[in-house]
């Protein structure tokens, strides 16, 4: 499997994987065949904690139902492009946590919701 396939397969179990380089102890996303920190190839996958903060976001209005696109900086370091859900008042620097949206075929798409929504 390619790193990309491994990553998507893990979403079936609602696992958000990040590539980790033991040589430079650094996480990266999206998964690829090289560590962008040291150029090494011996990367392993680790499950992300699923916590982060909103770096920025935009409400996309060119759709029947507007949706919130966001850049979430994970606690481990990498930034994900994602959707922010159940967030009536999104703002930069808000803590968020991982949630999942089912996709056709059993995979899931990671999305993020408020970290303190009591759920």
């Amino acid at each position: 499997m390619t790193p990309e396939e491994t990553w998507w397969e893990a979403t079936r179990d609602q696992l958000l994987l990040l590539q980790f380089c033991p040589a430079c102890r650094r996480y990266q996303h999206y998964p690829r065949f090289v560590c962008t920190g040291c150029g090494g190839h011996d990367l392993e996958f680790r499950a992300a904690a699923g916590t982060g903060v909103i770096g920025s976001f935009t409400v996309v209005h060119r759709a029947e139902t507007p949706y919130i696109l966001g850049r979430v900086r994970l606690t481990e370091g990498p930034v994900l492009l994602t959707h922010l859900v159940d967030l009536p008042d999104p703002h930069c620097d808000l803590p968020v946590r991982l949630a999942w949206r089912a996709q056709p075929g059993g995979r899931h798409l990671p999305v993020f919701r408020s970290a303190d929504d009591g759920l």
Binding site: G55, S56, T58, Y67, L69, R71, L81, H83, L109
Partner: protein, 364 residues
């Protein structure tokens, strides 16, 4: 470096109903006429956006067999990169007369898509497309959101960029919005929302258009009709293609590109008289002026350096890759009666993906 821009021109702009090659031909032949150089003397071509073999295609169409060409693709920044490549090629003796050109009929052809194009097989297709970002608008929108948040500003503050661009375009008869009257902050705020905080009037125009410039050695330029516009420095920076790659949305490649150009020219921001920077969206202007050294972080909306004098992509013309017209306007300013002796041109491509700065000057 001893290379100068000796000719510059626009093709027809706006909604032309013309083909790309007709507009390209207009741009090239008008720029050559401006330079006083016959078409047959062109031995270098840099262009894209025509076909897979863009420079070769244009050479075929014009009946030329150039000894140098460049069809690099890096979005709207590439024309500033072509200047660097052309200056190197002329200095190295690989060619003598280079035409850099671009034209698009995107308004007439209705070829611009708001969602953009996602190329299959890229990481963006796998990891970003499922979230349906508008390309490139949503990236600039997230940058704008972060900018307003960081500096405690509002959409109305950003709207002032569109208002100022429209005002400048009222002095430029070639501008798409010429004669359409002034814009108010309320107009900008009331325009349809596209991707918050950017509404329709925070976005550059979608028009046909293009232009061309002609470069040759500074030694030869002295014998040509126009005041030679010397290439004093250039610099580039490529930073990302993905919307999640850049660690900091407010730290673009513009600073690195400009620093390289300033270093080569042995000049600094205080030495520059006029700036042409790629105003794809309102946010691009303050953020760009800050990165280029013309304002402190967060103070770009109050920068006093004259910039985007023709109205820019927001109010004058935006044919999809605006970079060539930044150069044309810079040449116009340096030859004109504004008294400007130095100009900085900064092109940007994609989602702040590629950056290229060129510093130009005239002896006055």
């Amino acid at each position: 470096m001893s290379v100068a821009i000796v000719g510059a021109a626009e093709c027809d702009l706006g909604q032309t109903g013309k083909s790309v090659l007709e507009l390209q031909t207009q741009a090239v032949t008008r720029a050559l006429a401006d330079a006083g150089i016959p078409l047959s003397e062109v031995d270098g071509i840099a262009t894209n956006g025509i076909s897979r073999f863009s420079a070769t295609q244009l050479a075929d169409y014009l009946g030329l067999q150039p000894s140098w060409s460049d069809s690099s693709f890096a979005g709207g920044a590439v024309f500033e990169m072509y200047v660097a490549r052309a200056a190197q090629a002329i200095d190295a003796g690989q060619c003598r007369t280079v035409v850099i050109s671009f034209a698009s009929n995107q308004r007439s052809a209705r070829s611009r898509k708001l969602a953009g194009v996602v190329e299959e097989g890229t990481p963006e297709a796998a990891f970003e497309a499922p979230y349906q970002p508008l390309y490139p608008i949503s990236y600039y929108a997230m940058t704008a959101q972060r900018y307003l948040h960081t500096y405690g500003l509002t959409r109305a503050d950003l709207a002032s960029v569109a208002v100022a661009a429209r005002a400048r375009a009222q002095l430029n008869p070639a501008a798409w919005t010429y004669g359409k009257g002034p814009l108010t902050v309320d107009d900008v705020l009331a325009a349809p929302m596209i991707s918050t905080p950017l509404g329709a009037l925070d976005c550059c125009l979608v028009t046909d258009g293009g232009g061309a410039i002609v470069l040759t050695s500074a030694a030869r330029a002295r014998h040509l009709p126009q005041t030679p516009v010397k290439v004093l420095g250039y610099g580039e920076a490529l930073t990302h293609t993905g919307m999640a790659t850049a660690p900091d949305l407010l730290h673009t490649g513009a600073g690195a590109a400009a620093a390289r150009a300033f270093s080569q020219a042995a000049l600094g921001p205080a030495d520059i008289d006029v700036v042409q920077l790629y105003d794809s969206f309102t946010i691009s202007v303050p953020l760009g002026l800050e990165a280029l050294g013309f304002a402190k972080p967060g103070e770009g909306l109050h920068a006093t350096i004259p910039h985007n004098t023709g109205g820019g992509g927001l109010a004058y013309c935006h044919p999809g890759q605006f970079g060539v017209l930044l150069l044309v306007e810079a040449v116009r300013q340096l030859r004109g009666d504004s008294g400007a002796r130095t100009a900085l041109v900064h092109g940007t491509g994609g989602i702040f993906s590629s950056h290229a700065t060129v510093i130009l000057g005239v002896d006055r």
